[in-house]
Symmetry: C2
Subunit: 104 residues, 2 copies
Amino acid sequence: MNEVVVAVCAALGDETRWSILTALGEAPASASALATRLPVSRQAIAKHLEVLQRVGLVEPVRVGREVRYQVLGSELSATARRLEAIGVAWERRLADIKAIAEDL
Amino acid sequence: MNEVVVAVCAALGDETRWSILTALGEAPASASALATRLPVSRQAIAKHLEVLQRVGLVEPVRVGREVRYQVLGSELSATARRLEAIGVAWERRLADIKAIAEDL
DNA sequence: TCGAACTGCAACCACAGGGTTGCGATCTGA
DNA sequence: TCAGATCGCAACCCTGTGGTTGCAGTTCGA
């Protein structure tokens, strides 16, 4: 359950993967097409696409002989909501502790 | 601007750091105190606390001779909201492209 | 049918970073 | 004042992983 969040965050913690994601956010594309725009090799992009697919941020779609990848914003939004829930829980907890401390 | 998001995500992409954050989410604690609960050395925890502090997820508070760290849920919530905005942008963009494709 | 483009697999390299141990400095409390 | 606890710094190890090159297999188009 929570390991999903850390896996997604780990996938999002890389500049190159973000450049891939933002490129795919504009329009679906294949690894070869991405390799022409980005300053890394096709195989490097393929590796990144694999980890992005594994955490569900990206989805492959076969179109003829090429494999296009499209970004899945729903997964990103889902983890974002989990993170926000954790954040507000921390804030509330800290406020409670401060209130108790002031009672002393 | 956006480098902040990838830095925070990179910081959140580690199991040990999450165990530290969840421990701090219950109550502020020092590196030494955390080292008694977690199966890693104090210095390892100190390193993790440094990267967490650098991205603003954690804040040091001197209490006597020890340095207590408290978690900052507001920063987590802020990045969560940015991620969600990006996610819905991707979804909308993809829906637009599908609509155009069906027009052909 | 044949070449060109796209994909997949494998080997390899180099560096970041998570982890440890050790030591010296500093501060607290009895 | 002095002993124990706490912190900070430094050196070191080692695995993970981002990146490359090379080659073989498929599939489309002329």
